[in-house]
């Protein structure tokens, strides 16, 4: 299944400003196999401070598998994952979130029966240290609720705070996913197709939001919407058959012959 070694090459990023940062999130030789299928092959990926690093690739390339390994839902067969230089490979999803990894899902995984505000407050709860209390009144006005409202305001959901999550639109749920991730004040974001199913207007609002977010925490962005990727990404890595076949700036990836062949097509 693995591609010949010769086809794998890494383009050094031309942007020297980005190059000077130490990685906030990085994977070292991560491998994952399901039976005969090699889903991740020696993946070395770096997410540096202040950048949006897009991970693109055709369906079935292993993007979601890689994201799950980075977020903690799936253990790699070998290799390591570091967050701010700390090895988090053995930590579960919750511990990685506590360590500063903010994640959004391809298919919204929100508490649909709860209100938009409750979902955001849940994020704030996870971010605070200490254990959950049995007798506090969590939805009363207070510091957590203020933080939750601020996050909702940033993504433009403040006016929908008291609606049930099942009653808001698909695009608004995408925004809520990001708001919940924001409440965690993460060191790095991992976003799995945040633009999926959004209209032109929704995508453009989200592009603006994500563009501003990179300065708070870098974003590892898995996305199929190539317009969004080219508008947002500082660097792009291309995953095909579980291998990163190229990694570089937007222009470098656009010009890369192997990427054109494998994924973007000649019209790009």
């Amino acid at each position: 299944m693995s591609e010949p070694q010769a086809s794998t090459h890494t383009i050094p990023p031309s942007n020297t400003r980005l190059n000077s940062y130490a990685p906030v999130l990085n994977t070292v030789e991560v491998c994952k196999r399901f039976g005969n299928l090699q889903a991740s092959v020696n993946i070395n990926l770096e997410l540096r401070a202040g950048e949006i690093h897009a991970l693109i690739g055709p369906n079935g390339a292993g993007k979601s598998t890689l994201i799950k390994q980075i977020a903690g839902g799936l253990k790699p067969d070998s290799g390591q994952i570091f967050l701010n230089g700390v090895d988090v490979t053995r930590l579960g999803t919750a511990a990685r979130a506590k360590a500063g990894l903010g994640r959004t899902f391809q298919v919204s995984a929100l508490a649909m029966e709860d209100t938009v505000l409750q979902n955001a407050v849940l994020g704030c709860l996870g971010a605070q240290s200490g254990s959950l209390r049995l007798f506090d009144s969590i939805m009363r006005p207070g510091a957590l609720r203020t933080q939750a409202n601020e996050a909702l305001e940033r993504v433009g959901l403040a006016e929908h705070a008291h609606k049930r999550t099942s009653e808001i639109s698909h695009g608004q749920r995408r925004q809520l996913e990001i708001a919940v991730a924001l409440t965690l004040h993460p060191k790095a974001f991992v976003m799995d197709e945040p633009m999926a199913g959004l209209g032109v207007q929704g995508s453009s609002a989200l592009i603006d939001l994500l563009g501003g977010l990179r300065h708070e925490a870098p974003i590892l962005l898995v996305e199929h919407d190539m317009d969004a990727v080219f508008a947002l990404a500082d660097r792009i890595s291309v995953l095909v058959y579980g291998e990163i076949i190229a990694s570089g700036t937007v222009d470098e990836i656009r010009q890369d012959a192997a990427v054109k062949r494998a994924y973007l097509g000649d019209e790009q």
Partner: protein, 327 residues
Amino acid sequence: MKRESLINLILLGLLVGFPVWAMFSDEPFFITLATKAAILAIAGVGLNLVIGQGGLVSFGHASFFGLGGYSMGILASHAQTYEPLVLGPLVIDGSQSMPIIWLVAMGVSAVAALLIGALSLRTSGVYFIMITLAFGQMFYYFTISWSAYGGEDGLSIYVRNTFPGLNTLDPIQFFMIVFVLLLLVLGFCARLRGSSFGLALNAARQSSERVKTVGIEPFRIQLAAFVLSGMITGLAGALFADLNRFVSPSMFSWQISGEIMVFVIMGGVARLCGPVVGAMLFIVLEHVLGGLSEFWHIYLGFLLLLIVLFARGGIVGLLAGREKAHE
């Protein structure tokens, strides 16, 4: 006041009003029926915490009901015979004091729930149901062969246990003790719903991935909920044994787990007073239909079918409408 709160008040008013009426009408049997309904309601409130809030369908809550019952039976029988209870190096006198018995019943149930939960919560769905059921059956068969405490015949306690300042043999006074405990347990669960623990437990039921992604381990909150639930059901077991002055392995039987689940579903899963109305209806049906035919469970089954098909929120849901998202 919200419609559901008003309905809850009316339900509790009915539950307390009926035995008071029975007392003035000199019908102590009806007071006993109301007491049984209130005790089952406590057991149901315990189960509702894991099923309704936690989404964990435990089919083994008879374990805690029975443990509560046997805690009472063992302590009271030792007090009755003046024989101390020897647990290895530990020698304990029996007790006929209700508060002590309740604490022991809840403590024993908590330890059991911690062990059962720690094992069974690693599974989900039908496996969770089967593992919890298996634990209940293990206790059931163990007590059948436990001849020191009556084995299959069970254990009779000749005098009802005591409560400081009250005559527990007077049916209405015993009812009031049970009713106040029911109110305390309901108050506890109401507070829990609005707490950070309640928010996380509720979210874990809807999406365990979501809870993990914000840094909260669902296993821990579900285990804590399972322990609290077991303690409440254990308390109900101790009261039930005191009501009947008798404990037997049947308290551990899967039918008890099933019956508690049935009336929680009839009353309204995840509704605060769902188990209360469910337990009241169950007792009324048992009394009225049970007088007509020994196969009264057929009618109960038919009613359950109607409620599951046409009233998903149970009786409380039918009366109060769709539940609002908690604020």
